[in-house]
């Protein structure tokens, strides 16, 4: 195992180090760690700064601690697993790969995530998410488990506003606050839960060594775009 202290060794050394698996310790707000990484495994200890794993393109980044804003921004592939909470604008414009956050996520998580053919972005938030979760969602899956927030609201205001594809799954029976009339809320049936949610949540749970059954307790609701109210209807061509 190759271990670096980011404060002593500096970011350039780490960037140039060609190894399949490295650990960096002592993070205290250093930005752009793992930016554009294509392969390998990066363990991050401490509190990395903004834009962690931005443009991540295939590698795996494990964070033992909290991450700040814009983590996994425009991520393309790979895995980011955060054993802690995330700041604002998590996984913005994400295009593929998986982002797992065991704790909570701030505002604007999963805005404009996408899916295309075999590239499907997946975001799982173990705790609760702030307002504007999944706005403009264009594809992919967001799951909010609300672990430790049973009987409380697990999303904020404007959940899924403007979304036009993809699905937001919430482990709760409470409808999100001020849900847009262009969205549909439905209860998730057993089949969908087993087929779609279980494999994702099982993988999520395994990364943090928690029992998957705990993440599947109780019912899920799904939020999706109402296809009958598309953007196209807004316009009249001159």
């Amino acid at each position: 195992m190759n271990i670096f202290d980011i404060r002593k060794d500096g970011r350039d050394v780490i960037r140039r180090f060609d190894s399949n698996e490295i650990t960096i310790t002592g993070c205290l707000g250093e930005r752009y760690i793992g930016c554009g990484m294509k392969k390998g495994v990066l363990h991050v200890k401490g509190t990395p700064g903004n834009a962690l794993a931005a443009y991540l393109d295939g590698g795996t980044v494990y964070v033992d601690g909290n991450v700040q804003d814009a983590a996994a921004d425009t991520m393309n592939a790979g895995l980011l697993a955060v054993n802690g909470s995330a700041g604002d604008a998590l996984a913005y414009g994400m295009r593929g790969g998986r982002v797992y956050v065991l704790g909570d996520a701030g505002y604007r998580a999963g805005v404009h995530m996408k899916a295309y053919e075999d590239k499907k972005s997946i975001l799982v938030i173990g705790g609760r998410a702030g307002s504007f979760l999944g706005e403009y969602l264009a594809g992919g899956i967001i799951i909010v488990l609300g672990l430790g927030y049973e009987d409380k609201r697990i999303t904020g205001y404007f959940c899924g506003n403007g979304m036009y594809a993809g699905t937001i799954y919430l482990r709760t029976d409470k409808e999100p606050l001020n849900l847009s009339d262009k969205l549909i809320k439905r209860t998730v049936g057993d089949d969908e839960r087993e087929r779609i949610i279980r494999p994702i949540v099982t993988d999520f749970a395994s990364r943090f060594s928690i029992p998957p059954e705990r993440c599947l307790e109780g019912g899920f609701i799904a939020i999706e775009a109402d296809k009958s109210k598309s953007y196209s209807q807004l316009y009249a061509a001159v």
Binding site: Y32, A51, D69, G93, H112, Y116, Y164, S232, A236, V238
Partner: protein, 494 residues
């Protein structure tokens, strides 16, 4: 809405060429192969007129006019009726059509040498039109031996100060992208992908490609960022400042879907803001994360629309670490924008250039960034005037499309462009041969470059860099004192 009237005269040979050329269904063939005109569908794109072998077709404004009114024009009334019927936001395309917004380029005149300093003949003497875009080093550094160190940050080199504006694959066809890319390579300039991603067949043009990162992040991945000479973060565009984009699912077919990585038939929405940029600090973060992902080897451009506070905005961008600011003015074109936004939001590029250049100079950060401007550059003298006001280079979109056949019928948003430019319908896109298109674009830019040299020579200037911000080269006519003050120029005769 019926706006034009189609007619033919007796020289028509009934070859039905016009029927085949019309993509809007305005001319069809009847059972007896006679022409049937559907005037209400005509967009006045001039395709049928251009291809009629007999010169027999005429498109004119419909002479049936609404009763004249001093306040409400016919268009006003028609638009009210359309909105009353549909309840829709009016959708339009191409540049603004504000009736009373002046084109300041037409109110500025250029200088020339007479007697006191000699003019230069560009056919006889060397004339430098190359420009370098990017940050300039703050000072000269020498190593211990006393030799000059190369401390030049990444930059773009243009053989002539003209480049092609961002137009996305989806808004325009792949053949147009091919023509632009190939022409940019031949000319030693750059073309810009717009926000719809970069088709793989165009990867070989990477040295002359600027890739765009917009709020939708369509087609943006690490390979895309590294298949470019520079990366542009698009915050706004002149035709629709402050609002996002919406590419209709109808245009997301085949390779457009693949390149944007949006499933076929699904709308592609670009949110109004980048939701990871709510401040200059956030912008700085995106600039730096892009530099990080591209190993600090490429300049980063930030494109904004010219709006009221453009000078402080530009100052903020200059301090964000961006290498180049691209400013798109009020008259900038678009493939689709709400009409009210297009016609009423933003300011003319001429005023924006002058105020930005002035502000950056006052703050002593003009050399930290280069400035590219666009939005209604129609010819080489507009380009020269823009540079004299303070721009480093200009970008052309509408003019480039005109070189490829566009007649500015402003029907891009219908997706049925008869000239095969703003469409994805295979029968229409094949109307543009990319090689021929590239040749047309090369000719246009070469011609403008020659004219720029002539104009510079006439002023006794032999390097385009000496023209940048050289406002003594300009004089105003028909302008008030405030306008002269903002433009930083004197009145003709002063």
């Amino acid at each position: 809405m019926r706006r034009y009237r189609i007619r033919k005269d007796e020289s028509c040979v009934s070859c039905l060429r016009c029927v085949r050329e019309c993509s809007f269904g305005a001319i069809t063939a009847g059972d007896d192969k006679s022409l049937v005109f559907h005037h209400e569908k005509c967009t006045d794109c001039q395709r049928c007129v251009s291809f009629c072998p007999a010169g027999a077709i005429y498109i004119t404004e419909d002479e049936n006019r609404f009763r004249r009114n001093a306040v409400f024009s016919e268009d006003d009334i028609k638009e009210i009726r359309l909105q009353a019927e549909t309840g829709g936001v009016l959708l339009s395309s191409m540049g603004a059509s504000g009736r009373n917004v002046p084109i300041y380029f037409d109110k500025m005149l250029l200088n020339a040498s007479q007697v006191t300093n000699p003019s230069i003949d560009p056919l006889r003497e060397p004339m430098e039109t190359a420009v370098f875009l990017g940050q300039r080093p703050e000072g000269i550094e020498r190593n211990q031996m006393g030799d000059i160190e190369d401390n030049l940050p990444p930059h773009l080199e243009l053989k002539t100060p003209i480049m092609f504006s961002a137009m996305s694959y989806g808004a325009i066809s792949l053949n147009v992208h091919k023509a632009l890319a190939s022409a940019a390579e031949k000319l030693g300039i750059y073309w810009n992908t717009g926000e719809g991603g970069l088709h793989e067949s165009l990867y070989p043009y990477k040295e002359h490609t600027i890739v765009q990162v917009a709020s939708g992040r369509f087609g943006v991945h690490e390979t895309y960022l590294n298949t470019a000479a520079a990366i542009e973060i698009k915050i706004g565009q002149g035709a629709k400042p402050g609002i996002g984009g919406h590419l209709t699912g109808k245009k997301i077919i085949g390779d457009v879907s693949k390149t944007r990585m949006v499933p076929e038939g699904l709308d592609a929405i670009s949110p109004a803001p980048h939701h990871d940029i709510y401040s200059i600090e956030d912008l700085a973060q995106l600039v730096m994360s892009i530099k990080e992902a591209t190993h600090y080897e490429k300049p980063v451009i930030v494109k904004v629309a010219a709006v009221h506070n453009i000078a402080p905005i530009a100052s903020g961008i200059a301090r964000s670490g961006a290498d180049i600011i691209s400013i798109d003015g009020y008259r900038g074109g678009t493939g689709a924008a709400p009409k009210r936004i297009r016609d009423n939001v933003g300011i003319p590029i001429e005023l924006a250039i002058a105020s930005v250049d002035q502000r950056l100079r006052e703050e002593r950060i003009r050399d930290r960034v280069s400035v590219i401007v666009s939005g209604g550059i129609r010819n080489s003298s507009d380009a020269v005037k823009a540079i004299a006001l303070g721009a480093d280079a200009v970008s052309i979109g509408t003019a480039a499309l005109c070189a490829l056949g566009c007649h500015i019928c402003a029907s891009c948003h219908t997706g049925r462009c008869a000239w095969g430019l703003a469409t994805q319908i295979p029968e229409l896109t094949k109307r543009l041969d990319p090689e021929k298109g590239a040749e047309l674009l090369v000719n246009l830019v070469n011609a403008w470059t020659r004219e720029i040299k002539e104009i510079m020579g006439g002023m006794g200037i032999n390097s385009i860099e000496a023209l940048r911000g050289n406002r003594m080269a300009l004089r105003g006519v028909d302008l008030n004192e405030k306008e002269l003050e903002i433009l930083g120029i004197r009145y003709a005769g002063e």
